[in-house]
Every structure is written in C-alpha cells, then in structure tokens.
Amino acid sequence: MSGGVDSSVAAALLVRDGYDVVGVTMKLFDDGNELPDRPCCSLDSTSDARRVCERLGVPHYVLNMVDHFSRDVITDFVAEYARGRTPIPCVRCNTFTKFSDLVAKADGIDAPLVATGHYARVMDGALHRGADDNKDQTYFLWGINRSVLPRLLLPVGNMTKVETRAIARELGFARVADKPESQEICFVPDGDYVKILRRELPADAPALSRGAIVTLTGEVIGEHDGFAQFTIGQRRGLPGGSAEPLFVVALRPDTRDVVVGPREALLGFGVVATEINWLVADAPHVGSEVQVRVRHRAPLVGARVTRLAGSEIELALDAPISAIAPGQSLVLYNGTRVLGGGFIESSRSATITRA
C-alpha cells in the first residue's frame, strides 16, 4: 500500500468482500528527510497507508525492503544508464520486489493471496489489460513469474480511475481520493535522475563525461555533459539552428557520442528484445501474429515474430514506431491478454524480410 488512491481502494474492496486483509507498505529506499511530500514512498505516504488501514480495521506493517530494492532495482537502473540505455525500474520492482520478495513475505505469514492496486486483471490464470485503457499497467507487469498469477488479486483492475477515486471519496478517504498521479520514478526526487547517477557512479564515469554530439553522417555539431542525460527521441539539450528539428537517434557509450538525426531516423520497423518472460502456456512462435507495445500507454501495434532464440525475440512491426529505446519494455499482447515481454535490445530501421 503506497498511501495512494489505488492501493487504498483495493484494500477497502477486499475488506468489503470479506477477505482477511493485512496491509503492508514497502519501504524501498532511505528517503532521509530531504524528499518533499511525494505521491508514494515518503513518510507522509506511509502514514496515509497506515491511516487507511486504521479506518478499515486491518493491521498495517511497514516492510523494510531497502537492501533488496537497491540490489535488484536501483543498481540496475544506474548500470543501464551507464550503458547508454533507458531503464524501466518499475518493471524490475514488480518482477523482483513486489511479486517475488513480497510474495515470500506473504508465505511467511501463510497469506495465500497477494493484492495490489494495479490496473490489470487476472482471468483464468492469465494476465489481462486493465478495464481502463488509459490506466492499464500491464506494460510494467510482464516480468513477473507466471506461477504467481493465480495468487494475485487486482481489485481495481476492473475499474476506471474515475470510479476508483469516486469509491475513495464514498469511503471517506479524503486525503488519498484526490492525490495526484505518481508519474515519476519513486526513488528519483524531482525527476532528476542524473542526480542519482552522480551519487552512484564514479565522478569520471563515461556516462557523465563530456562527449560529442554527432550527426548520422559523423559531423560533430556540439558537445554534451554526459550521454546519460539523453534518451532516444529526446530534443532537449541539443544545439538548435538546423533546418529541420533534430532528435537523439542513438547513444554510443564506447565513444560517448550522442547521435542525432531527423524525425524519420527514429522510425523502427522491427524490434529485438531479450530476457523474454512468458505469462502464458501457449507462447508465440516464429510467424505468430501479435500486438506489441514499446512504451507505456502507446497504442498497440500489430507485429509478427520473426526470430526466437533462447531468451531473445525479434519482431517485424506492421507499422513503424518512433523512438524505440533500448532498456524499455517490449510487451506482447493477444487482445487484452498479456503474452509476455522482454527488455528492448535494439530496433531495426528498415523492414525486416527474414522470416
């Protein structure tokens, strides 16, 4: 329970339905006293979760998961930026912290089920997108162990955010009902992730060192203060003055180059992902037609599996997608059903003909 509206309403709905509920808040990092009130994970949010449990008449505990979260999520977050990629820590938190470590804690108290406030649904042992297309969070859930699915309860997955907020108000959860959405990464104060990198990486780390901004043809058009400050598709921080707008199209950690190009250069016609995890028994095979998503809330795009090798997958996209960023998630769907996903390794800039 983050202290936010979704997990608060989830807990309330379970209590209403007669479940024996134990509320827990995961303490994931040491926030000291420097963080202002944030949508989740702060001291204020923890006490909001506690107050909700007090109102519901269920016990509330704070679980100290700082060490595991640091090891499984923050360390990887930093390493990914150092490799010139754009990490997605929420996926690793769900995979390792919430739906592995927390499930083990549930086992320790003989709790057969684990509930969260995610907008997603579990039906017949399969994970499905949430009823609210605008809120669906399956983009972050593809990595969890399939065996956990039968133990999941996702009480707000059938609702829209508007309905969730309405229930919170009905229940008298005034403080949480109208909290702003948590858009940022919970352990990154003010969205300034570079501050975290400066704290965790050596001062002379290549990712934070000066490098060249080069065009696709190799022309140097400027300098930057570290490629970790850039992500694929970004415009901010690039020199102006060119005839058409420039975007970051690639990061090259070995030379510290930030490569820029026109909008068309961002288009990906195929995508390669690794660390594939399947949530279904009937996993796709080469030739399978699926739908994919390469960023949160993006529209689904049709795709065909062109290669499957070990934990790696390659797909040809029915329509090109702009700014496919290595390190982000590739999630495969069949309708509302989540088939699985992986971490994006690269995109293909020309139509793939191999099959």
Partner: protein, 385 residues
C-alpha cells in the same frame, strides 16, 4: 482469536491502578500551579515536594538531587549535553559511551561531537558486556563525561556500572547511566554507586508515558536545555507536572516493594520461555545468555529468519514482541546492539526481543512456548533470498 499476549514490557507497561488513583486529584480539584503562592499553589507544591522526597528515597538520593523530566530521552539529553556544555571550556575535550546505548544517548553524544567533543565509542564483548579494559583507556583525564547504560534495553545484559563509575570518578570524569531498563530490575542506589547522573522513565514500570526523573549528584555541573522560570532549581524550567510526579513516586515505591518477588517470578517465566524455544529450535541464538541479564528481557535470533516477518506472524497470532529499533516510518532496521556483539548480519537481522512483566502469566508463556517455534520454523521455510 484467543486473548492477545503482550511480551513487550521493555517498550512500555500499563499504568497501575494505584498510580491512576494517586494522580486523579491533580487532574481535578488539586490542579493548582505549584509555583503559585495561594492555597491552590501550596497544595500542589506540597504534593510535588512529597513526590520528590519519595522518588529520592527510591534512588538513595537527596530530594534536591532529583530533577523531574518527561522520560528517558529528555533525561539522557539533559545529562549528556548539560554536562558536556558545562565542562567543555575547562580543558576536558572528550566524551565516551558504549556502542550498545539507546539512541537517546548515542544521538546526544553525536551532538556533543558536533559541538567539538572528541567522541569515543567503548566496544562490548560477545556476551554484550562493555569492555572494562577499553573503558579504562577511553575514560581518561581528558574526558568530560562518560555514559553507559545500566541494563541493555535490547538484550538485558547488566553492565558493570559500579566499576565504570568508580573509574570515571578516579580520573575526574563525570559519569551518567541510563537506568531506564534497570530501575526495579537491579539495585539502583546513589549511596552505593558513584554515578553523577542517572535517568529513569516512568512508563517502563507502571507510571504514565511522559513521566521520568534524572538524578544529579549534589555539586555536579549542569547546563540546562530549557530556559524560562526557576522551576527545579532552573535545571528544568516549566510548570511542574504534579500529577505525573505523584504518579512516578507511587510507581517507584510499588515497583521496589515488589522487586524481590517480581524478580523471581520474571526470571522463572523468562528462563522457561528461553528453554522451550531453544529445545524446539536448537540453533536459536540467545543474545547475552553468557552474561548477567535483567530478569525481564529475552532476545533470540532464529537463523534463517528476518525479524520483520516473524514479528508480523507473531502479531497476527496476537503475540506482541519487538525487534531491532523501529525507524520513523515504522519499518524494522537491523539492531546496532545485536550487530555490536559481532554476530553475522544474517543473525542480527533475525533478532526478536520478548520482555515479560506485570501482564505476563504462566499460561501466556505456555502459549508462546508452543506457538513461537512453529511460526519461527515456518518463517525460516519462507525466508526471501
């Protein structure tokens, strides 16, 4: 669920009925301000003087050596910062304390260091007893103040306060002891042991939270923390809480009058619980078992468990224990005290403190002796990697 079992008397205790009764008039018609000169004031002043006399008698002190406080944290801060600030100009540059102190002492000592003191941390041996040989080196003629707790709040070990206080005196250093867990459990007598400051906290033995006292030996310097009126000889300005003073005095007397009987009863309960757990889980680690311990505290690590999960499992069965020290958010951090014993971090992370007291019955111990091993073994089976 069957009746819940409270095994956390080292955290707090219920206010005794006699204490409530003794305090009641001072919330009612005897509400006067003890500094007022009229009848209402005089009545309060008389009650306050009487309470101070009785608390002093319980500590082997003169009444003017008793300063009333809001509890352990205030007393520790007042004694430590008050002694350091009074002495720092006089060439004594160091402060010394043990690594197993309560955070009220450690944080106050760190504050002295921030104000320029050289801070020395006295180690403990594997049994949880402060090393006298280190203490004799660290408490030296350059030392303003040393502070060592009498009974460890986490593992119950009884520290060699007599020897430490005598050593401090011999080098001219002031000596403070946090006796929050010691009062009523071991003999605390200012006539026998030459400490200069000593703190007790009422809610550990049947008085309300927010009541407490600091002993300060006659002639000992003290810089106050608060400034205002002249209450408590200027040591602790602010309108006196007469009701709590009366409550504290009553609880002190009741505690001491029952000390011998309670000591035997609590020792038997604690030892029986310890034996039952160790019999069921032979690799359980009893912290401080090779040292002299106060009767009420049992601290056990079950290898392969983390205390957080086990505490939740126990609580859900109605058994209240504690582990480590709670941080502000309420999550459990590995204990600095258990870590200081030199045990592996995996053992430190599993420490559970059970503390018996006025509410503990034979039947309660039977039930915990049966349930604890079951829950611990289950937690061990499900420990996260």
């Amino acid at each position: 669920m069957t009746a819940p079992i409270y095994l956390d008397h080292a955290a707090s205790t219920p206010v005794r009925q006699e204490v409530l009764d003794a305090m009641a008039p001072f919330f009612d018609m005897r509400f006067g301000n003890a500094s007022s000169t009229h009848r209402w004031g005089r009545e309060s002043r008389a009650a306050l003087d009487d309470a101070r006399d009785r608390i002093a008698a319980c500590l082997g002190a003169h009444p003017d050596e008793v300063c009333l406080t809001s509890g352990g944290t205030e007393g520790d801060n007042l004694a430590i910062l008050g002694a350091w600030r009074a002495l720092r100009g006089a060439g004594r540059i160091a402060v010394a304390t043990s690594v197993i102190e309560h955070k009220a002492v450690l944080a106050a000592m760190h504050h002295c260091a921030a104000e320029g003191a050289s801070e020395r941390m006295i180690p403990v041996d594997a049994t949880g007893i402060v090393s006298l040989s280190h203490a004799r080196e660290m408490i030296a003629p350059d030392t303003a103040l040393a502070s060592v707790m009498w009974v460890s709040n986490e593992i119950g070990t009884i520290q060699p306060i007599q020897a430490l206080a005598e050593h401090a005196k011999s080098v001219g250093a002031l000596f403070h002891t946090d006796a929050v867990q010691a009062f009523g459990k071991v003999e605390v007598d200012a006539r026998k042991t030459p400490f200069d400051y000593l703190c007790i906290s009422g809610h550990k033995f049947g008085a309300p939270k927010g009541s407490g006292a600091m002993f300060i030996r006659r002639g000992t310097p003290l810089e106050p923390l608060f400034f205002g009126g002249s209450q408590d000889r200027g040591r602790r300005p602010g309108t006196e809480n007469v009701a709590f003073a009366v409550g504290l005095a009553t609880a002190c007397e009741l505690t001491l009058s029952a000390h011998v009987r309670e000591h035997a009863r609590l020792t038997a309960l604690r030892d029986r619980l310890q034996a039952a757990i160790v019999a069921a889980i032979p690799d359980a680690v009893v912290h401080g078992r090779d040292a002299q311990r106060a009767a009420h505290i049992l601290n056990i690590s079950i290898p392969g468990t983390d205390s957080e999960s086990l505490l939740i499992a126990l609580d859900l069965q109605g058994i209240a224990c504690s582990g480590g020290s709670a941080c502000q958010s309420g999550s459990v951090m590995p204990s600095h005290v258990i870590s200081a014993l030199g045990v592996p971090s995996t053992i430190a992370a599993g420490a559970i403190r059970m503390s018996v007291g006025s509410l503990t019955t034979d039947a309660a111990i039977d039930r915990v002796a049966e349930l604890f091993p079951k829950l611990a073994l289950r937690a061990r089976g499900h420990a996260a990697a």
